[in-house]
Amino acid sequence: MPPAESAAAPAVEFAIQKRRVRFLGLTLDECIKLFFGGNAVVSIVVLTLITYFLFREGAGFFGQNRVNLQVYRQAGLEYVDYLRRQADDHTALTRYLADVRLRTVQHHTRTSGKSLEEANAALTEFDVYVERYSAAIDPLRTMVGELSEVASAIKTKFIVNEDKKEERRQLLAEGKMAEAARVAIDRVDFEAELRPIRAGFPAYRTLNRELSSTLTQLAGNIPALPVPELQQRMERFAVLSREYVGTFPEIERSLESWDHNAPISASQAFSSFLFGRQWLTASFWQDWYGIIPLLIGSLLVSLVALALAVPLGVGAAIYVNQIATPLEQKLIKPCIEFISAIPSVVLGFFGIAVLGQLLRNLSQSPALAWVPGFPYSERLNILTAGCLLALIAVPTIFTLAEDALNNVPRAFKEASFALGASRLQTTMRIIVPASLSGIISAVLLGLGRVIGETMVVLLCAGNRIAIPDFTQGFAFIVEPVHTMTGIIAQEMGEVVRGSIHYRALFVVGLVLFLLSLLINFGAQKIVRRYRISVG
């Protein structure tokens, strides 16, 4: 409208202009924006720094591990380990015999009603056999002992030299030239040092032939045992024994073609970590940094925890969301969420003091003898740690699953009821499927939560660095394990900064970090991919 015409209208005050307050040249809005933006940036920077730090500290490990493996070979430790393994395999067979003896004694005392003395007397022939069998390995054992000393000496020499080199480097760095020159370093001539070890090869050959013929002869003359079942075991022993002797030529060939100078490739340094089945540190012989036992420990404990926490958490979420009265909801929700307020060290303490004992006592009750692995005697094991971790995962899974159920539009529920569905049918056929992506991601986040949990597993998983024995089915759940988080917490305080052990722990941390990242990423992906479009 042209302004001229509006002149007749009463003048209205319309003062909407206002001077902006400026602060350091910024308006208030810009200040607020800067503040919150800055916070977001800090979190990104921290994440980047942590990742960078992990990678930087961890990356050195593979080079050091390569040197570690190289020395293992050059100093002849690898050579001696071939022989040691041969001797150890023999020991395993002797243990098998001991097991058969125990069963036979049990048979005599329980079934035949003989006294212990009579049972032992009946086994005289068997004992002579065992004695002969186990004595057969003695020459090899002696040889391993002698060679071990030589190899150890070479390795020590090498390490002393390395230390001296380090010393000189430091002196040079400090500018003390004269003192640096005084540090004497003799080159280790591996070829010459290994000569005594190689010189033992003909003797080994003779010894091996004797061992071979003794064992073959013994395998052909197994003593008779009273029960067919035990006799079968002895026949099995004979087969195992022959197989064992069959490996001898292979060992001889490996020793003959063994070359102390064969290079260790970078991938070997990598795979000996990633697929290594041994985590052995601060040993007198050789350190091994294989993550497999720790990884398996972490995964098993987490899986046991999830197996318990998923039904509990999701079940409770369904109950609270679909069935509970408002009063029950008010009571149950805070209770479950309160569990996450318990410090994990307190939970671990509870695990050691109460749960471990309780589960062990439970396992010894005859009514539960059918459970695999029951009864057991190790109080701290996968099961104990898994039960406690389940407690930690339940609030996470419950809260997120409950949210997911809550996000299912009410319209679905009404439509289902209007078609004549019962409450259970509606829940199972409509509500749960519609929120499945949310529930799965809740479970994944629960997994991420337990796999990173440290205190409980450190206190309750038993901390035995070994791959559980899977041959007995589910009995492995009562074996103690060590975990990735536990090993870092336990050993990081004691290692020398910059040492291979220190770096190995960082790589374990890195693996843990990547695993958690993967789980979280997967959870987010699932939520985004399968989110039901509402409206």
Partner: protein
Amino acid sequence: MEPPAATSPGPAGPASLRRPATAPGATAPTQAGAVPTTHPVIDIENLDFYYGASQALHDISLSIDHHRVTAFIGPSGCGKSTLLRCLNRMNDLIDGTRVGRGRIRVHGVDINQPDVDVIELRKRVGMVFQKSNPFPKSIYENITYGLRLQGVKDKARLDEVVERSLRGAALWEEVKDRLHESGLGLSGGQQQRLCIARAIAVEPEVILMDEPCSALDPVATAKVEELIQDLRSKYCIVIVTHNMQQAARCSDRTAFFYLGRLIEYADTRDIFTNPANPQTEAYVSGRFG
């Protein structure tokens, strides 16, 4: 406000409105004849209904006929949707609701009696909602959901029901090639017709529609209205609507509610051309509401 006007039948109001309900257990034969005869299916007597302490319905009495489309109209909050949801007891899902005085009889059976199985009731009295709400499943699974709940597993029977229901809802031609795609991929109008197909798949006698077109565009609305006309021959349809033209276009009888009371219930033609009550006249002529 004048005292609760009970049903005030218009000049053409059939005497059957006042007739007592048919004997309990007597089921009406549903015949899709060319000229369907009519008889009351639902009888509501002096119904009071409460949300917690507040009374939402006051002394409602009316009777709904088979093979007819009955429209409930009135301004927001007048209780028309509440009454609709009473008819298949969907209000049970809301905490704190209760029926005070009065009775609702379907085929003579009081549906609020404790021995009534509400699941059976809802199979006989289906419902279509204001916002189309297909399940996040395939079209096929959406239609067969009700039957599967009843334990029907026979593939041939399910296939047949899917085709019949979709044809009944005038959707077959549009979706027959993508029965196994998600029902959420359809357009708004198609989704609503899918919901209607889902409701008729369990072969109810009564279909309650709670503002079925309020979220649809005019073209989709026209299709659904056409569908309602087609369904009339087989079902008893009760439709709640805000749209008075819609009530005028597709219903046979119209009930006008105001503040939880039934003001007038008569043939649609009379309600819109010759209302007995001045409030009704004010509302249908657009002077309030």
